[in-house]
Amino acid sequence: MTAPTQAPAEGRTIYRRPLLLSNPTTYCPGCGHGIVHRLIAEVLEELGLGARTILVGSVGCSVFAYDFLRLDAVESPHGRAAAVATGVKRVRPDKIVFTYQGDGDLAAIGTAEIVHAAARGERFTTIFVNNGIYGMTGGQMAPTTLAGQKTTSSPLGRDVSTVGYPLPVTEMLSLLPGVQYAARTSVSDPVHVGKTKAAIKRAFEIQVEAKGFSIVEVLSTCPVGWGMTPTDAMHHLETDVMDFYATGVFVDRPKGIAPALPAPVGPASSPGGCSAAAPARPPSKMAGHRVEE
């Protein structure tokens, strides 16, 4: 299955379909899921992992990912992919296991599962596709929806005074020692698509080395849910969305990259507890920071 396609005798192959991609996807025009699927297929093929990889699906537009990726796959209840992946990886530690989750799935109903899988340092990878909306159910507000953004369940725009601010999941997870790699990327243009592929590759390499949990949050589009043309959606992604959500590598512990833990501001109490355990305690840089790529 993974044998490379032979190049024609009179020429060389410039581009071919990744071997681990099967059917054409059924995603809407301008949706980013197809790009992310292709990147995963390319990375697994390049790393030679396809024959020992298990996909843990989720609920949302990507629920049929097992129809598009030529991988063994199991479906999860909404939000539970990180727990399902924990079960798979614990009994098959020699396999490569990853979850593919959207932001409604991971950042709302699945927060407990993802936080604790990350805290335990489970040795699987999460590909977290964030388009700031519940796409499959008709474009409702998600925890990741931008302030002021109109959705079918925030028809006047997201009012942060009543529903709060978007949830920066990757920043939150970056604080946990079990997280060996965490990055946020985008599919807004070819340069960022390339960076996304590099991040996905690094995340799987971390898993191959059995270091711990790795996650790549991919900022993506939902033209239908956002009420935009595909072109306008891409423009919105590279402006408003990427202005709010910093892209870059937050954690790569094998390379010594990790954010400092927040420290108390003001008079410190007696030494002890988590703060004392932290190696260095400069003032927090977590709020709205942008990590250099």
Binding site: M1, G50, A51, R52, T53, I54, V56, G57, V63, F64, Y66, D67, L69, R70, L71, D72, A73, V74, E75, S76, P77, R80, A83, V84, A85, T86, G87, V88, K89, R90, V91, R92, K95, I96, A112, E113, V115, H116, R120
Partner: protein
């Protein structure tokens, strides 16, 4: 009597020598050990080759989790204390999909949380053994023993058209056997199977025979191993097209009919000449057995019908047993749940009565005898001779080994 102890740091369940003169010290493997129900269930699962256990602390099943926390790593098997019962059942889903033999356990409120995953596992045809050590409800209820989850267990925990086989031990020794049987059923039919016990069975200590039975490793031909040299497999319950989902449901229902035809289990005591039959399972059956003895000592011919599979309910056997009696009395630690299946089974042939206690209260044998007397007094004499084909429970274990 030898006591099975577990001192901190012990590598294996530790057999403490019997006091001198009791005879136990002569034998390296005692013929009987004293074990707590939760711990016996856990050790039985380990002996049966359970590859992975996932749980969350809740009274009165916490010792099961604790036993697994120590023993599973010793055996090099998977153990995770999950962040919630939702986490635990979904870890089980993943491990089962990957072909492992898996157990989860909880008590009533936790089982409610697991209901979602049970529906998905039933829909995805994934084997797992779930243990419910029932406590009082509804809500947070109490930590006392109860049988108030009968309807939840037998009529469906989560959404959708499905059943899971439910096995109800009434002693710790029986629980040990049923754990192994539960794994057999789960893998034979690719379904979740529930062990339904109550807080007394979880917490009490009883003498049991050690030497838990081994079960050969599962050999699923459907599990996820990575699509190496074969077509990829997907395990899912989603079937968006009506005809696809109906075909899938037809397949599930055919499996349930097969289970109903082949796996019904029950036990009968003193049914041959019984005028009033007591129907009870689990701890309530222990009370009912005492009540039958007292009633007979006082001249009332009572008998005990004890369902072991609650789903499938032994309806045919109960109807046959009840034929010609004056009436049937359901004894439950609930406000009356199993009695609904008793009525369905009896089909109005004889009157059906209920004696139930709730909230962690246990019926007393004397109250049960009094209820049986009332049932006797308000019913007509037997209309014909009781059926003679009363048989004791067929052993599923023997059936499985055939």
């Amino acid at each position: 009597m030898t006591v099975l102890d577990r001192p901190a740091g012990a590598e294996r369940p530790h057999l403490v020598a019997s006091p001198p003169g009791t005879g136990g010290e002569a034998s390296p493997v005692p013929d009987r050990v004293l074990m707590k129900g939760n711990e016996a269930i856990a050790e039985a699962a380990i002996a049966a080759g359970c590859d992975a256990y996932f749980g969350y602390p809740i009274t009165p099943q916490a010792e099961l989790l604790e036993w697994m926390a120590r023993r599973m790593p010793e055996e090099g098997r998977a153990f995770v204390q999950a962040e919630s019962e939702l986490g635990a059942i979904n870890m089980a889903l993943g491990a089962s999909a990957a072909g492992a033999r898996v157990m989860v356990s909880s008590s009533s409120p936790g089982i409610s949380l697991m209901a979602e995953g049970m529906s998905y596992m039933a829909g995805s045809r994934l084997p797992v053994v779930l243990v419910n050590i029932m406590r009082g409800g509804p809500g947070l209820g109490s930590i006392g023993a109860a049988q108030a989850d009968y309807l939840q267990a037998t009529k469906g925990h989560g959404h959708g058209d499905y059943h899971v086989p439910v096995l109800a031990p009434s002693s710790i020794g029986e629980a040990i056997e049923l754990v192994r049987d539960a794994f057999i059923l789960a893998e034979r039919y690719r379904t979740p199977v529930m062990i339904l016990a109550d807080g007394i069975l979880g917490q009490a200590m009883e003498p049991v025979t050690p030497g838990f039975k081994h079960l050969d490793p599962p050999t699923p031909d459907w599990s996820l191993t990575g699509a190496d040299g074969r077509e990829p497999r997907s395990i899912h319950s989603l079937n968006l097209r009506a005809e696809d989902l109906e075909a899938h449901n037809d397949e599930l229902q055919a499996t349930y009919r097969e289970i109903e035809a082949r796996e019904v289990r029950w036990a009968g005591e003193q049914l041959e000449d019984a005028e009033v039959i007591l129907v009870a399972y689990g701890t309530a059956a222990r009370v009912a057995r005492t009540a039958v003895e007292r009633a007979r000592a006082e001249g009332l011919k009572a008998g005990l019908f004890r369902p072991i599979t609650l789903w499938p309910f032994p309806s045919d056997a109960l109807r046959e047993a009840a034929r010609g009696t004056r009436g049937v009395l359901a004894v439950e630690m609930s406000a009356g749940q199993m009695v609904e299946d008793v009525r369905l089974a009896i089909e109005g042939a004889v009157p059906v009565f209920l004696h139930g206690r709730t909230g962690g209260s246990v019926p007393s044998p004397d109250d049960v005898v009094a209820a049986a007397r009332r049932a006797w007094a308000t019913t007509e004499p037997a209309r014909r001779e009781p059926a003679t084909t009363r048989t004791a429970a067929m052993s599923l274990v023997k059936e499985n080994e055939r």
